[in-house]
């Protein structure tokens, strides 16, 4: 399992997050509507997992460990937040 909840109630994505992680991540997002997401330790994100992060509307605690996502996506997430 590369999705877990840490002691501070943060949803942590770690290592390689494959498509199978989408289901447990969704369950956690549903169960903890205000929990933060931390993706600093995640090296590679599957689209399905990313889609849920986007859908949750939460700004993950970064920088994202997946360099490509950090470069191309993370700036926009913060921009969107600023726009709100």
């Amino acid at each position: 399992m590369t999705v877990r909840r840490d002691d501070n109630g943060v949803i942590v994505l770690e290592g390689v997050c494959p498509v199978e992680d989408a289901e447990p991540l969704l369950q956690m997002l549903q169960a903890m509507p205000t929990a933060d997401i931390d993706w600093q330790a995640c090296h590679q994100l599957h689209t399905a997992v990313l889609q849920l992060v986007l859908a949750s509307g939460r700004i993950p605690i970064g920088p994202c460990g997946d360099a490509w996502v950090a470069q191309w996506l993370a700036p926009k997430l913060t921009q969107n937040e600023a726009a709100r």
């Binding site: 498509v19 969704l26 689209t47 399905a48 990313l50 889609q51 859908a55 509307g57 490509w68 996506l73």
Partner: protein, 767 residues
């Protein structure tokens, strides 16, 4: 089996049949890009679904097929009959595996090995080098000179990320491409990771990801349905980009962006801006028209050219801007404002003509687009046959229940003298009658299916059999969309296979024989379905050697099918009809294709079972036509099987009002006739055995007698029978030949044990 697995089985079968179809067309009509794309997509989807239900052997084999097709699509290799054979063999294997998977939930033990062998066979067609490395990028279809529409989002993206893009822009970029990738919702199930594809795009300038249709609330979201749209601008090579997306060509659109457009693109131009720009340019035209009267000619025209140029650049029209700029320079050197005025007027026309397109013929690279034409999606609702069957039965019951209303009306009138009430009930009965008839008709329509599916499989059959026999045969099918009841269409498959097989095997000559006979070497078998009134006709014709009555006569007498004296008396047409006789086969040798002497009689039996007729016309040297005349719907009749005088008869249930057992003491004799009283009515007795001239069973004084009471057209009678056997739903075949005019018979039907059952028309038999 889970719902996912069930869906896999259904879809896989559809894909297999579609791919088989397309492969055969591809072989016959050549490999057009669309056709190869279709086949490729079918294999690709099959592979993806095999991955989802975890059938690695199937995935690996299909992967090899996919590679092969990709090479054909690029034009790296040509498709040929042997390659098509291999691809078809691959589909056959998948089809068998799907059957196994459905039956046992797994593939057979040797699946891995079988798959490996087939994969090797498929790979053997690949050029040696391509066997190891992934196929080169597909050549995207391009239409030079065609005006390419630059998607609106490109301008938006450039506008919002201009600085970042400028920073990333390499110095020596030669072309830029806009990539719009909309993965299908089920792409995760196909094993796709859209982000992973995007990561591979070289020289990315900008990237954006957004929901295709706003995200649902977290409680409603389906984590495995992809609802994303990924867009990017890259200055990498088109081929390289195309290669990355080669497995999802239907989901991605790659558009060339002229580099100057990229450099000069300004904030998005909307319609309001467009009209503003027109106004600006019109104002410059006005200014130029009066400019020769002003002193500052150079300043005036120079300003006009500058304003117009800037406006056009702002409007994302760099080519037009350049043109105006050039005209402005000419004007200054020649001291004549007219060239600039003309240029601006032309610009106004161009703006009016193509408000948002860029003429792609202006600049070299980036003129080709890989876009998919939107196919209208046919929405089909899959309903299990059992449910439709239940509906049909319910509608049938409703008909019976409705009929009871008529009886009620009569009873109210007779027994309670309630004419008013009876009339009211009759009115209601009539209304319900209409509705029920309509409902019944509509429900029967649900069972109507086109013969497309059956015809499809014949293409494959003709191809395989003719290849096996070294004959060259084309199948022309028409009227596939004609519809008939599913039961009929389903039953048609076997007879049509026999007919087509027979035509290829016996009817069609070898290419040499055909050449000698002065016929084209490629023979044609045509199969045509049509609707005439309430009949459904199918004709199977070939242009082969025809059936020779002389040969048939000889065979028939050799096999002793018909006594010799009878045979000589038969006309040629009747003789040819003997090919339908059981045990007749004209093939000199028994082959494994046909000629086991069972084909044609099976055809006749099956067609007659579904209430149809088979006829055959043939001319020696010209060909043979077999005509199947079928009912469009199977009119099922519910019958009661009774025994009388040691024989079985069918009685239509519609006519039966009840069955009763009456003790002999209740039967009284009135003159010559017997009768008994049933609910205050005298019911005359008719012995069915006597009516049919059969020996009557001796009646014992103590045993109750069995009657079937028939009531129709105001008359009533009790038919005495020895026993009541079954109640059956059957297809009635009308009486034919000599018996056609015989009264009292509704028709015949075949019983499960092959016995012919006479079904009586009780209304006619009523005394």
């Amino acid at each position: 089996m889970s719902a996912l697995q069930e869906q896999f089985v259904t879809e896989a079968r559809e894909l297999i049949s579609q791919a088989t179809d397309d492969l055969i067309v591809l072989e016959r009509d050549g490999a057009s890009p669309e056709r190869i794309d279709r086949v490729f997509r079918a294999f690709h989807t099959l592979k993806g679904s095999a991955g989802v239900v975890e059938l690695p052997a199937m995935s690996i084999m299909l992967h090899a097929a996919e590679d092969l097709l990709a090479s054909v699509r690029q034009g790296a290799i040509e498709s040929g009959p042997d390659m098509i054979d291999a691809a078809l063999a691959c589909l056959d294997q998948v089809s068998r595996w799907v059957d196994d998977f459905e039956a046992t939930g797994a593939l057979p033990a040797q699946a891995g090995e079988d798959g490996r062998i087939l994969a090797e066979r498929l790979r053997s067609f690949l050029p040696a080098a391509a066997g190891q490395q992934p196929p080169a990028p597909a050549a995207w279809p391009s239409t030079p000179g065609k005006v390419e529409t630059l998607p609106k989002w490109v301008a938006r993206m450039i506008a919002s990320e201009r600085d970042a893009m400028a920073a990333r822009m390499p110095k020596r970029a030669s072309a830029a491409f806009a990539i719009s990738y909309q993965p299908i919702a089920g792409c995760f199930y196909n094993g796709d990771d859209p982000l992973q594809l995007m990561r591979q795009v070289p020289d990315l300038l900008a990237f954006h990801i957004e929901p295709r249709e706003g995200f649902a609330l977290l409680v409603d979201i389906d984590p495995y349905a992809c609802n994303l749209r990924l867009r990017a601008i890259s200055v990498g090579g088109r081929d390289e980009i195309a290669k990355i997306f080669r497995l999802v060509p239907d989901q991605v659109q790659i558009t060339g962006i002229p580099l100057d457009a990229l450099a000069a693109i300004a904030p998005a131009v909307n319609d309001a801006d467009q009209s503003l720009i027109r106004a600006v340019i019109e104002a410059q035209c006005e200014l130029l028209r009066v400019s020769d009267r002003t002193d500052d000619f150079a300043g005036c025209t120079g300003a006009a050219a500058r304003v117009a140029t800037n406006a056009l650049r702002h409007a994302n029209r760099p080519q037009l801007a350049d043109r105006v700029q050039r005209a402005g320079a000419t004007v200054l050197t020649q001291h004549d404002a007219r060239p600039l005025l003309t240029a601006l007027e032309q610009v106004l026309v161009a703006l009016a003509d193509s408000p948002t397109t860029i003429a792609a013929d202006v600049d070299g690279p980036g003129t080709a687009a890989a876009s998919t034409t939107e196919r209208p999606v046919e929405r089909v609702l899959r309903v299990s046959e059992a449910k439709i069957e239940a509906l049909v039965n319910l509608a049938g019951e409703l008909v019976v229940a409705k009929n009871a209303l008529a009886h009620s009306a009569r009873r109210v009138e007779q027994d309670f003298a309630g004419q008013e009430v009876a009339r009211s009930i009759r009115r209601d009965h009539d209304a319900i009658d209409r509705l029920v008839a309509e409902l019944h008709g509509t429900i029967l329509q649900l069972r109507m299916v086109p013969v497309t599916q059956v015809f499809r499989s014949l293409h494959r059959l003709v191809r395989d059999v003719s290849r096996q026999l070294g004959k060259d045969v084309g199948l022309v099918a028409s009227g596939e969309t004609a519809e008939a009841d599913k039961t009929i269409v389903d039953r048609l498959f076997e007879p049509l296979v026999h007919l087509v097989r027979n035509a290829v095997d016996h009817g069609i000559e070898s290419p040499t024989q055909r050449r000698i006979a002065g016929k084209p070497e490629t023979a044609t078998i045509s199969i045509e379905a049509s609707r005439i009134g309430d009949r459904f006709l199918i004709e199977v014709s070939d242009d082969g050697r025809g059936i020779d009555p002389v040969v048939v006569r000889r065979k028939a007498s050799e096999k002793g099918l018909v006594p010799v004296d009878e045979l000589t008396a038969l006309t040629d047409e009747r003789v040819i009809d003997l090919v339908f006789a059981p045990g007749f086969s004209t093939a000199a040798e028994v082959s494994d294709i046909s000629g086991r002497g069972i084909g044609m009689d099976v055809v006749r039996t099956v067609i007659e079972q579904i209430g149809g007729r088979v006829s055959l016309a043939s001319r020696v040297g010209t060909g043979t036509t077999v005509r199947l005349d079928l009912p469009m719907t199977i009119a099922m009749s519910r019958i009661m099987v009774v025994e009388a005088g040691g024989q079985l008869f069918g009685i239509s249930m519609e006519a039966v009002s009840e069955t009763v057992r009456v003790t002999p003491d209740r039967v009284s004799r009135i003159k010559n006739n017997e009768g008994f009283v049933l609910r205050e009515r005298v019911v005359p007795i008719v012995s069915l055995a006597e009516l049919m001239n059969l020996p009557e069973r001796t009646k014992e004084a103590t045993v109750a007698r069995l009657f079937v009471v028939i009531e129709a057209a105001g008359r009533i009678a009790a038919f005495e029978v020895d026993a009541i056997r079954d109640r059956l739903d059957v297809v009635l075949k009308p009486m034919q030949g000599l018996l056609e005019s015989a009264r009292g018979y509704a028709g015949t039907t075949l019983l499960g044990d092959g016995q012919v059952l006479l079904v009586l028309d009780m209304k006619e038999l009523l005394p």
